[in-house]
């Protein structure tokens, strides 16, 4: 089971934190700080795995990957495989990249809820449910499409015959994609 997903920048600022078991805000901050202090002391060209038992308690492993200014961190227990989780991070970043074209740190901050949506499509209740970035994209797009739907529905209801209005509605849909 995956216990936590974190994204933080190289200065230790948290950019995304999701814990699959409830932890108090203080505990979360403590863990994030603990993880960062280990991460920033790691040299280049070493393995992406860290023994996380001293931070997260028994039976916990940590895999991280460093992209530009960000660390992507997954914490999990022995029912997952380190290399596979490393690949999962890759999928996550690829998906973000597809979503934002050349994803950067700011994209993640500004699209906070969308990142969560993407992550929820990949990892559900601590288990990996989807590993194909195009499938994840499809699901996320489906959700974003609904953004205007209540509004559109009311438009359509009010002006069923008004051709211009439905064209406008279609236009709205298109720009929202």
């Amino acid at each position: 089971m995956i216990k936590a997903v974190m994204v933080m920048n190289t200065q230790g600022k948290s950019r995304l934190a999701k814990f699959y078991e409830y932890l108090s805000v203080e505990k979360q901050q403590e863990l994030i700080r603990g993880v960062f202090s280990v991460l920033c002391s790691r040299a280049e060209n070493v393995s992406n795995f860290i023994d996380a038992e001293s931070i997260f308690g028994l039976d916990s492993r940590l895999v991280y990957k460093h992209f530009a200014t960000l660390y992507f961190v997954f914490v999990f227990d022995s029912s997952e495989n380190e290399l596979a989780v490393l690949d999962l991070i890759q999928v996550f970043v690829e998906t973000l990249d597809k979503c934002f074209q050349n994803v950067c740190e700011l994209d993640i901050v500004f699209n906070y809820s969308k990142i969560h949506t993407i992550l929820d499509e990949m990892v559900f209740g601590g288990q990996v449910v989807e590993t194909s970035s195009s499938e994840i994209m499809k699901a996320v797009e489906e959700i974003s499409k609904c953004f205007l739907s209540p509004f559109l529905l009311s438009c359509v209801k009010m002006h069923v015959d008004d051709v211009r209005f439905s064209t406008f509605a279609l236009f709205l849909i298109r720009i929202n994609r």
Partner: protein, 955 residues
């Protein structure tokens, strides 16, 4: 904006993020965030906020909380948002509540209703959002509220919903297995779902279920194998691929499941060989995910019933991992090596240089993993090098958690494999010096015990040498500043007990040092207490030896200081010291005999000396004793009172509340009690009753003898030296024997095959001399291995020592039923006292037992001692073949073992059935250790082994 879809954020939010990003200090950041909190507090409570604005506020709250600030004022608004009709607003609400709230939060009650409604929604996206919240927010109490809806969703037309419903159900199972235990069959059903994604999702809960109870899922082996086969053959659509691997997470889960199901089960394992072999062949080893699957294959192969071909492929993959430049792959390689090494120990030989490279790698993670591997492969031959390295590493790190772990490992290895007492003491000194405060206090106690009892060597000479060397080293170490408290306690105790024993140091030397300790660590009361008692011992020994005692002035002042100490313990010790000094030689010798720390202080718990008195009383018409189990509730306390009366030594004050008096069962209450209850209507246990007190000290009850047995085991279970283990067969516990059983054969093979490959390894690639030396000391069975006869002898000696030990309590137990006594002390055990006879008996007899279990052909090859290793898996298989039958067989075996006393005593005879149990669990590093220990103790000499036999048996 197009790319942001519905997740648009306002300029304000962007500004906030920017200003936080530009903040120079934590204080500045905090100021900005606090400002923001103020703004949000104000705005969020304004009436009629447009939904879109509200949604953004909530996101801002989430953001603030992620930065570590309290956003609880907004929780209620997030809850409100979940009620909204618009999907996106609702989703934001759900996102916020899943991040904000825990399952026991007060606001959950407001959400459960919404979740219930949303789970029934027509829009599957709403359902998904609700399921997401279910996973995080539903606790044991609220599970029933949503369970029916979740169950319905298992048949939802959308596969995404089915998948998430299964995960939600899995989550329920994790939170409260009992509340969904009747529904676990749904996971099986969903395994046949049309959609591979849903099927993949069911593997997660199934994995957990199987890990808890393997046997009820054995029937699924065929299905799992066929699913894995289809996945590996790319029968799934491309949509499930991940970096060109077909559904890797499904493959990994399946391999994990198969590893569980095939563990120790030959029949099940045979079904898996083909598919695992196929994956080994086809798997793409250039990508991370491909290697992840390969690694999982190795884990699977090392867990299921061994197959030589697969082991070979696994070994190939491991060598590829280890040779790779990637640290990740090396890490996986080391881990895999640790798993495989138990099955084919010779594989470590090929990779020794790679392992040593990893040990010297700057990457901490890799280093630790390598130490773990070394820990698993420690034997008596390489223990010195490994423990040395471990301690060096332990000194170099600052992470307390890992330091503790590695310290306890060092201690464990040192206790099990110590080549000499000298080395053991030195190693323990180093561990204590550098991690003293981190090691368990028990370790200190066992070190003291070791020094007191010695290694069970023939002559006391060696023991006293050990003691003087310990004393010497401690006196030296005391010069160093800042020693850990635990270590000081050991030092004080040893100095007190043996400081003057060999006459090298005078009493004033030792007492001076002890006073220094008490002074230097005056804040540590435990150390002071140890030091005071040590002083008392030294003086007592002096007085007993009829030497003149001159108390050093600093001792005098220390004693006076302690006489007025605030700690009653210290005070008492000081007074005792004062009293002892005033006594004459004879009295002192009685209360403080020299070197008597290991003598058992006899406590006659059965009070057998009162038997005559009881007999007399009963003859005069007193009521006989009623065992505790037959008395009704209130007697609990009167029992306590009785103990108070007769066994003043064995209890303290009770601090827990008295039990509520249970309704008395009239029929069982003896005459006397009925009489008294007539007088006092409510049974009042507080009043002592004559009748009870007279009946109490009667013939020992069953409970009493059980207690005694327990104590017996406590005495027998010597820490450390595994050579003691044979003696555990005196007690009826089979668990100890199990260990011996497993290791009995395997250990032999470990050593023998090591030797075999050691020779073949000679033409080696040129490497630095130092590394080669290290490799040789780690992996090679050098000539010093052949201490075996000596150790075997030692073992026997030790066990004879044990037998004597176990006699001691027996005397106090004579009244206990003869049956129990004879079961515990079979005549054979005494034979263990003769070393030579024992070692041969130990070698042969397990195989007598094997004859009953194995085909004659196999037995023929087994007679030779060492090759038994290769057969032991077969034995396991015999037991596992019919999983249900295990227990019956187990019982039968125990019985047959008991009927033949010469067999009973042999470790590893009656224990076979449990072999399967232990091997079905995850690989246990202890096994390998114990294996080697056993080889030593059995005195099995590996040179007598014929390598060809292995091939025949395994091939």
């Amino acid at each position: 904006m197009g790319s942001q879809g519905g997740f648009y954020q306002s300029k304000e939010f962007l500004d906030l993020v920017k200003s936080i990003g530009e903040a120079r200090s934590k204080a500045e950041e905090d100021r900005i965030v606090l400002n923001e909190i103020e703004t949000l507090k104000r705005r969020i409570s304004e009436p009629d906020i447009p939904k879109r604005k509200m949604k953004e506020y909530i996101i801002r709250l989430v953001y603030i909380e992620m930065l570590g600030h309290d956003a609880s004022f907004g929780y209620i608004h997030a809850v409100k948002m979940t009620h909204d009709d618009s999907l996106l607003v609702k989703r934001t609400g759900y996102l916020a509540v899943t991040l904000f709230l825990n399952e026991d939060h007060d606001l959950i009650i407001l959400i459960v209703n919404t979740i219930q409604k949303d789970l029934k929604s027509d829009n599957y996206l709403v359902v998904c959002a609700a399921l997401n919240a279910v996973c995080k927010l539903i606790n044991e109490e609220t599970i029933p509220a949503v369970l029916p809806q979740v169950m319905e969703l298992l048949a939802h037309p959308k596969e995404a919903v089915r998948k998430k419903a299964i995960m939600a159900l899995h989550r329920f199972y994790q939170k409260s297995p009992s509340s969904v235990s009747h529904l676990v069959s749904n996971f099986r059903k969903r395994l046949c779902d049309n959609d591979p994604g849903v099927m993949g999702a069911t593997l997660c809960p199934l994995f957990e279920l199987i890990a808890r109870d393997v046997n009820s899922y054995k029937d699924l082996v065929i299905s799992f194998v066929s699913i894995l086969k289809q996945v590996a053959e790319r029968r799934l659509s491309k949509a499930y691929d991940c970096h060109q691997m077909p559904a890797p997470f499904i493959q990994i889960k399946l391999l994990k499941i198969l590893a569980l199901l095939g563990s120790g089960d030959k029949q099940a394992s045979e079904n898996m060989y083909t598919v695992v072999g196929d994956i080994f062949r086809k798997c793409d080893s250039s990508s991370n995910i491909g290697n992840a699957v390969l690694y999982e294959c190795i884990c699977c192969v090392s867990s299921i019933y061994p197959n030589p071909k697969l082991l070979e492929s696994a070994a190939d993959v491991i060598s590829r991992f280890l040779k790779s430049d990637s640290h990740n792959l090396k890490y996986m390689g080391i881990d895999a090596l640790g798993r495989l090494i138990k099955i084919s120990p010779e594989i470590a030989e090929q990779h020794q240089l790679a392992v040593i490279d990893c040990l010297e790698d700057p990457d901490d993670t890799l280093k630790r993993k390598t130490f773990e591997l070394l820990y698993k492969m420690t034997k008596s031959t390489n223990v010195e090098v490994i423990v040395d390295r471990m301690i060096d590493y332990m000194i170099s790190i600052s992470d307390n958690h890992y330091k503790t772990e590695i310290a306890s490992r060092c201690v464990e290895l040192a206790e099990q494999f110590a080549p000499s007492n000298q080395w053991f003491i030195q190693t323990m000194n180093r561990v204590f010096e550098h991690a003293g405060d981190l090691v368990n206090i028990k370790v200190a106690h066992s070190l003291m015990r070791l020094i007191a009892e010695g290694f069970g060597e023939d002559d006391d000479n060696a023991d006293s040498k050990l003691r003087s060397s310990a004393v010497e080293s401690y006196l030296r170490i005391l010069g160093e500043p800042k020693l850990p408290s635990v270590f000081l306690q050991v030092i004080c105790w040893v100095l007190g007990e043996y400081g003057t024993a060999d006459g090298m140091f005078s009493a004033s030397d030792i007492t001076g040092k002890l006073c220094d300790v008490a002074e230097a660590y005056s804040n540590d009361e435990t150390v002071k207490a140890y030091a005071t008692t040590a002083l008392m011992k030294i003086y007592a020994f002096e007085i007993a030896a009829r030497r003149k005692v001159d108390m050093l002035p600093e001792c005098q002042s220390l004693m006076e200081e302690l006489l007025a100490s605030h700690s009653t313990d210290l005070q008492q010790r000081a007074y005792e010291l004062q009293a002892v000094i005033g006594l004459d030689a004879h009295a002192v010798d009685c209360i403080m005999p020299s070197d008597a720390s290991c003598e058992d202080i006899e406590v006659d718990r059965d009070l057998s000396f009162l038997n005559d008195y009881i007999q007399e009383a009963i003859e005069k018409g007193a009521q006989p004793y009623i065992p505790e189990s037959e008395r009704s509730g209130m007697l609990n306390i009167s029992n306590f009172r009785n103990q108070d009366h007769h066994e003043a030594s064995s209890h303290g004050l009770r601090f827990e509340a008295y039990e509520l008096p249970k309704p008395a069962v009239q029929s069982r209450i003896p005459q006397a009690l009925i009489a008294s209850t007539e007088i006092v209507p409510v049974p009042e246990p507080m009043y002592p009753r004559e009748s009870y007190q007279t009946t109490m000290p009667s013939i020992p009850s069953d409970a009493g003898s059980a207690e005694l047995k327990l104590r017996l085991e406590g005495v027998q279970k010597k820490w450390g030296r595994p050579t003691y283990t044979p003696a555990t067969s005196t007690s009826n516990s089979t668990s100890q024997k199990t260990v011996n059983g497993t290791s009995q054969g395997d250990g032999a093979s470990t050593v023998s095959s090591m030797r075999e490959t050691y020779d073949s390894r000679k033409p080696q690639v040129e490497v630095s001399h130092e590394k080669q030396k290290l490799a040789a000391s780690l992996f090679g069975g050098s000539s010093k291995t052949e201490k075996r006869p000596a150790t075997g002898h030692k073992a026997a000696k030790a066990s004879s020592h044990m037998v004597e030990k176990s006699h001691v309590p027996k005397s106090s137990m004579e009244v206990a039923s003869d049956k129990a006594a004879s079961a515990q002390q079979p005549p054979d055990l005494l034979d263990l006292g003769e070393p030579t006879a024992t070692s041969t008996a130990l070698q042969l007899d397990p195989f007598k037992q094997l004859e009953g279990l194995l085909d004659t052909t196999e037995v023929a090859s087994a007679v030779n001692g060492a090759p038994a290793a290769s057969i032991s898996p077969d034995i396991m298989a015999l037991y596992v073949d019919t999983a249900a039958g295990i227990h019956n067989k187990n019982d039968a075996d125990l019985l047959s073992g008991l009927s033949n006393p010469s067999v009973t005593n042999m470790p590893g005879t009656t224990a076979m059935p449990q072999v399967t149990q232990s091997s079905s669990k995850r690989p246990n590093p202890k096994d390998s250790l114990e294996k080697d220990a056993l080889v030593r103790q059995m005195g099995v000499n590996p040179s007598s082994q014929n390598p060809n036999l292995f091939k025949d048996l395994l091939g």
